[in-house]
């Protein structure tokens, strides 16, 4: 069930009505209903994968309880839970990749082995809910969080449907207490939720999904295209993936607000970042902070020697690349960002010279572009071929023709987000703006979606991860 469908609209309206009809004093009933709805939402794709999310939920819940009541055996419980959760993730997401990479490596050495592996369907959102559950278990292990005593509450936290399949990857410390306490409807919060949903739909249907066919056309026929068109394709993809992913996060946040729950901000205008370090503070914040808290800092962060810092940064970016999927293109994407980051931290940041802010933004934007080429390409050979084409002398300076939908969508995005760059999201309007003006703006945006938006129900890119 995609956010940009009538199915979701009907589902959400029905859910919203029943959810708030349950009196706040029956918190257990409200959470039970939330859990049931989340499982229906998830099972809509493939009900068989519900067993996986249930397994992750049950193991994490009982591990937390066990750690709480048996402090001496915390480590065992932690390792067991990590093994089970990572085991499921690796089996479904990486097994085929690791086995094929292993056999390919042996083939280079002249050893041929035939390992047949069943190609498995990737359960939607597995990386997101696995990381969310693990953050809970690790926090309980560290004593930062009390163990949950109620399975329904905990299961509702793991499977909270607005952010279940593509994040933000919530921390138990933020989401679980909100599920554990009774919620009351707040008009201002709900109105902000609707604005977030509207802005998410603008980004998804007006920008991302209209860019998608142009990007597809350029990437699939890149060998026949000249460098200006290839640069153009990479730029469009940069906007496509940003709008696609941040739209999901914003619709999730908006849906959460309508239910009285605040989710964390996942994007903070990353393309307005003035350097790569700032970019990584603004892009996919929930995953970046997850890796920072549970991988980078435990490894020593940047407190050790230069070599240790380089190692820690490299490990985090490599894992971040692999998190996206079992493909060498993601690994290269991770390595590329690690290099960018290290060059910045150890060289550029130490120089006194600073680019003017706008030039720095442009420089940062164009420095992340090659990474997106690897991210978008089907395999390394396509990525190399595309990438080398970007730097060849062009015979033809023509760019693919942009229609009014793509240009208009991009302009709307850039103007709104630049205007609101110090606020939560592009349509984050202050209450000082008179109501008629706000309503006119909402109406115009809805008209733009109706006229120029893509109604093809294109899936979100991050569902694949």
């Amino acid at each position: 069930m995609l956010f940009n469908t009538f199915e979701y609209l009907v589902f959400f309206v029905v859910f919203f009505a029943v959810y708030w009809a349950i009196p706040a004093k029956y918190l257990y009933g409200q959470n039970l209903f939330l859990l049931l709805a989340s499982y229906i939402f998830y099972g809509w794709w493939d009900w068989r994968f519900l067993s996986l999310i249930m397994l992750t939920t049950v193991t994490s819940f009982y591990a937390g309880k066990w750690m709480s009541s048996n402090p001496g055996q915390r480590k065992w419980a932690l390792w067991l839970t990590l093994s089970i959760n990572f085991g499921i993730l690796i089996y479904f997401k990486y097994a085929a990749f690791f086995v094929s990479s292993f056999t390919a490596s042996l083939a280079v050495l002249g050893i041929d082995i035939n390992l047949h592996l069943v190609k498995l369907l990737l359960p939607v959102g597995i990386s997101f809910y696995t990381f969310q559950s693990l953050s809970y278990v690790i926090d309980v292990y560290r004593g930062k969080l009390p163990a949950s005593r109620n399975l329904v509450e905990f299961a509702a936290f793991v499977s909270f449907f607005p952010q279940l399949v593509a994040g933000p990857i919530e921390r138990a410390g933020n989401l679980l207490p909100q599920i554990q306490r009774s919620r009351t409807f707040n008009n201002l919060q709900a109105e902000e939720g609707l604005r977030l949903i509207l802005w998410g739909l603008v980004k998804k249907m007006l920008v991302a999904d209209n860019c998608a066919p142009v990007v597809e056309q350029i990437f699939s026929a890149h060998q026949t295209m000249d460098s200006p068109a290839l640069w153009f394709g990479a730029v469009l993809f940069a906007f496509q993936i940003y709008c696609d992913f941040s739209a999901y996060s914003e619709i999730a946040m908006g849906s959460g607000k309508l239910l009285g729950i605040e989710l964390m901000q996942n994007f903070n205008y990353p393309y307005f970042a003035k350097d790569i370090k700032e970019f990584w503070k603004k892009w996919h914040i929930s995953l970046t902070t997850w890796f920072k808290d549970y991988v980078f800092l435990p490894m020593g962060g940047s407190r050790g020697s230069k070599t240790q810092t380089i190692r820690n940064v490299a490990v985090v970016f490599l894992l971040s690349g692999l998190w996206h999927g079992a493909n060498l293109t993601f690994v290269v994407w991770g390595i590329y960002h690690a290099l960018l980051y290290l060059v910045f931290v150890f060289m550029v940041d130490k120089m006194k010279f600073r680019l003017p802010p706008f030039a720095a933004m442009l420089f940062t934007f164009f420095s992340v572009l090659p990474g997106w080429v690897y991210f978008r390409s089907g395999d390394l050979s396509q990525a190399f071929s595309y990438f080398s084409g970007m730097f060849q002398q062009p015979d033809d300076w023509h760019l693919p023709l942009l229609d009014v939908k793509v240009t208009g969508g991009l302009l709307t995005l850039l103007i709104a987000e630049w205007w609101n760059r110090n606020r939560l999201f592009g349509l984050d309007l202050s209450c000082k703006v008179p109501m008629p003006l706000r309503w006119t703006l909402y109406g115009l945006l809805m008209l733009l979606i109706l006229i120029y938006g893509s109604f093809n129900e294109v899936s979100f890119i991050y569902f694949n991860f």
Partner: protein, 303 residues
């Protein structure tokens, strides 16, 4: 919560109301033009009620081409008859959509002596254009057609309805006006095999799929029966192409021949092979249409 819901509903009602008003204004603006069949690719802009035509032409772009440019007048002159063209070009037409238009034509109490269906064999192997969501984007908003679509539409009818209604807000609709009537002087320089293959790939997205062919035969059968039930004679024409026969030509002819004397079949695949008469590999230019109409008229009379 009450305050939130009240404001939400008030906003929704205002927005829907203003959007509908915009749609109606745009619709009124376009429908106030006096369109003729050769001045638009839209069917509903020219379709009247209780009218009588000697010929009703249907099909995809090859049928529409008989009304494009100056061809409509040429047709009526050569045949000395009144013609209505309900073909759908630009990859929007399909048998399901054509059946929908035919039923609507009769529903509006129109009469036609002969249905001249220009049956491009690719129609028998392509069910994708039938489901095109934007199939009716050129049509004016008519409540009777909305009801007709809801009643007779196929699996994608709700999507088609959504796109039909929202298309009235698009830039293309605001700029719709009667087209200029000029001859099509484009000439095909020669046969380009690569280009032809590309065209075939688009026209036959799933190749020569037997299942699709069988399902298309059923739709075509319904269409023929619908026309015959209204006392309209049916003539099926395989249109000319510079390369002669389209893939699936023989199967299409074999199916049509099953109707015996009930349906006239004119196989014109090889009728015109001179590239000078074409603007592309399978669309006749004005010179080609003039040449072809004479032949078509003669054969219809002979049969």
């Amino acid at each position: 919560m009450n305050k939130f819901l009240k404001r939400f509903f008030l906003f929704s009602i205002l927005w829907v109301g203003m959007t509908m008003a915009l749609i109606l204004i745009a619709n009124f603006r376009v429908t106030s033009y006096p369109f003729k069949n050769n001045q638009t690719e839209s069917n509903l802009l020219v379709l009247k009620e209780q009218a009588h035509y000697n010929f009703l032409v249907m099909g995809i772009s090859h049928g529409r081409n008989l009304s494009r440019n100056t061809h409509h007048q040429k047709f009526e002159q050569v045949f000395n008859a009144r013609m209505m063209n309900l073909s759908q070009g630009e990859s929007l037409g399909g048998l399901e959509n054509q059946l929908l238009y035919l039923r609507y034509f009769f529903h509006k109490n129109n009469k036609a002596d002969t249905l001249l269906f220009v049956l491009s064999p690719s129609l028998m192997y392509n069910d994708e254009t039938d489901q095109s969501d934007i199939a009716f984007y050129r049509e004016p908003l008519k409540m009777s057609f909305v009801r007709h679509l809801i009643h007779y539409g196929g699996d994608r009818k709700w999507w088609q309805l959504l796109f039909y209604i929202k298309s009235k807000l698009g830039h293309h609709w605001w700029t719709t006006k009667p087209l200029d009537k000029k001859d099509n002087m484009l000439t095909l320089s020669g046969i380009d095999t690569m280009e032809m293959q590309k065209g075939f790939a688009l026209a036959y997205p799933r190749g020569l799929n037997l299942k699709i062919f069988q399902s298309r035969c059923q739709v075509l059968d319904r269409l023929i029966r619908e026309a015959l039930s209204q006392n309209t004679a049916v003539t099926m024409v395989i249109p000319p192409a510079v390369f002669g026969q389209w893939p699936g030509h023989k199967e299409t002819i074999a199916f049509l021949n099953k109707y015996g004397g009930k349906v006239k079949v004119l196989d014109h695949a090889n009728a015109i092979v001179n590239p000078a008469f074409y603007s592309d590999h399978h669309h006749l230019n004005t010179m080609g249409v003039s040449e072809y109409l004479v032949q078509l008229e003669r054969e219809i009379k002979e049969k």
